[in-house]
Amino acid sequence: MSVVVEGKNIIRDYHIPGGFMRPARTVRAVKGISFSVELGKTLAIVGESGSGKSTLARIIALIDQSSGGELKIEGKAIDIAKQKPTREMRSKVQMVFQNPYGSLNPRQKIGDVLMEPLLLNTDIPAAERRRRAEEMLVKVGLPAEHFNRYPHMFSGGQRQRIAIARALMLKPTLLVLDEPVSALDLSVQAQVLNLLRDLQEEFNLAYVFISHDLSVVRYIADDVLVMNKGEAVEQGSREELFAAPKHPYTRELFAATPITDIEAIRERVARRKAMRAATA
């Protein structure tokens, strides 16, 4: 199996400038994280707000620079602080954001949204760009006739399909998905998760999947990395992690996640009944 992306001891510091009577300080948002993702596999990064998971995602997606450590994409070390990534490198990693209402330009037609990455990064002629964009629309489950529509004409789930289609236009090997289904309703979430699975199989994509939702992670991940306050508190295969979480923070997360277990409901209902009988 070939490793698509590898991080070694990735660090990210944010400098907060000082003010009157206040010294400047440095916040370490990501405190030395190592990971690797193979072709066709999914690494899920789980954590709560402030855990540094989105910062890490942005570093992997070559949007933000790291303050230390080594990032390798397809074996090649890359540091965007020192050198702008090549078009070829940019094409390999693409990102999908959480809020499909914010990530699409309201004044841009869907067709243009999809063709823009090709226009900027390749020399493909216009007719071919259009053909590929229409083909990709169909791949993500939208009719090719939607080419000339504007984002406001689509629902949240459809918009997220468009954002995924845009990310795939350059035939990347790695997709960084930052909470891609958190803004969606349950029934739409299921459709988008299915789509992501199909696309991963078809294009042999590697996913870095950022999420706070453990049930989604259990469904989609091969490996899981649990982050808390910038540190990787636990890392391992999905089976291992879900069968026997080791770190107290991971256990706390599991305990806090509401589940729809029938036995648990039965127990709770019985307890409430007993309590009511006692007070009545």
Partner: protein, 278 residues
């Protein structure tokens, strides 16, 4: 022992392209000391039906109902003055975005004391003492200091605790919580849900919990009402709903939960697709 009874509630909004029906003939009933969960996806009218009961909808909304009573009192035909004696005192509400629900220009202490003075009729001094007591009750750490803090100086979970403190300040008989934990992290969500359930059990108030999260329903509700596109699909006690959901939409919702995934693919709400594919 019905506390709030709503029969055949319809809410229409006048829009530029004509009238839009957000809630279409919905019945809601919550008994004393009961936790009712209203579940639905966005656009199901779950929030709008409760805002209608509270009288908080804008003027563009046309609300009709065959019956809307609180503890036997007719909410539809009472004067605004009489209604204000109930809304905000006997029925209170908390919302999804705790930080946005508080006024950023005033301290949390000022805001809760305002509720206590106008809605509970306390003196300034008594209000201050009671505010401190309430902050302690909802588990705000360092309550004396936090009364002097502005909302932006507190976390989302703490702001929601302040909202809950304000909502229970008047000892209401019904608390409506509209997605109270959706904007919060799971560990904070658990704390807030535990707090709400503890308060409910202690005071015996009715609680309506509006949510889209089946897990939250499973861990809090006595009875559940499932809504879809402004209509009520199913109503059942929590155990029967999860054990043997009757309506296909409820079944679809439960099987779309990733934690219930059995095979490689998640079943989708195929028969209910018309909303997604236009």
């Amino acid at each position: 022992m019905a506390l709030l009874t709503i029969r055949n509630l319809t809410v229409r909004f006048a829009t530029s392209t004509g009238s839009f029906t957000a809630v279409d003939g919905v019945d809601v009933r919550v008994d004393k000391g009961e936790v009712l969960a209203i579940v639905g996806e966005s656009g199901s009218g779950k929030s709008v039906s409760m805002l209608a009961a509270m009288g908080l909808l804008p003027d563009t909304a046309v609300v009709t109902a065959d019956e809307m009573t609180f503890d036997g009192k007719d909410l539809l035909r009472m004067s605004p003055k009489e209604r204000r004696q109930i809304i905000g005192r006997e029925i209170t509400m908390i919302f999804q975005e705790p930080i946005a629900s508080l006024n950023p220009s005033f301290t949390t202490g000022y805001q809760i004391e305002e509720v206590l003075r106008y809605n509970a009729g306390l003196s300034k001094k008594a209000a201050r003492a009671r505010a401190l007591e309430l902050f302690k009750q909802v588990g705000i750490p360092d309550p004396e200091e936090k009364l002097k803090a502005y909302p932006h100086q507190m976390s989302g979970g703490q702001c929601q605790r302040v909202m809950i403190a304000m909502a229970i300040a008047t000892n209401p008989r019904l608390l409506i919580a509209d997605e109270p934990t959706t904007a919060l992290d799971v560990t904070i969500q658990k704390q807030i849900l535990d707090l709400l359930m503890e308060l409910q059990e202690k005071t015996g108030m009715g609680l309506i919990l509006i949510t889209h999260d089946m897990g939250v329903v499973a861990e809090t509700a006595d009875r559940v009402q499932v809504q879809y596109k402004g209509k009520k699909m199913e109503e059942a006690d929590v155990l029967s709903l999860f054990e043997a959901p009757k309506h296909p939409y409820t079944r679809a919702l439960l099987s779309a939960l990733p934690e219930n995934a059995t095979g490689d693919r998640l079943p989708t709400v195929a028969s209910f697709l018309e909303g997604e594919v236009k």
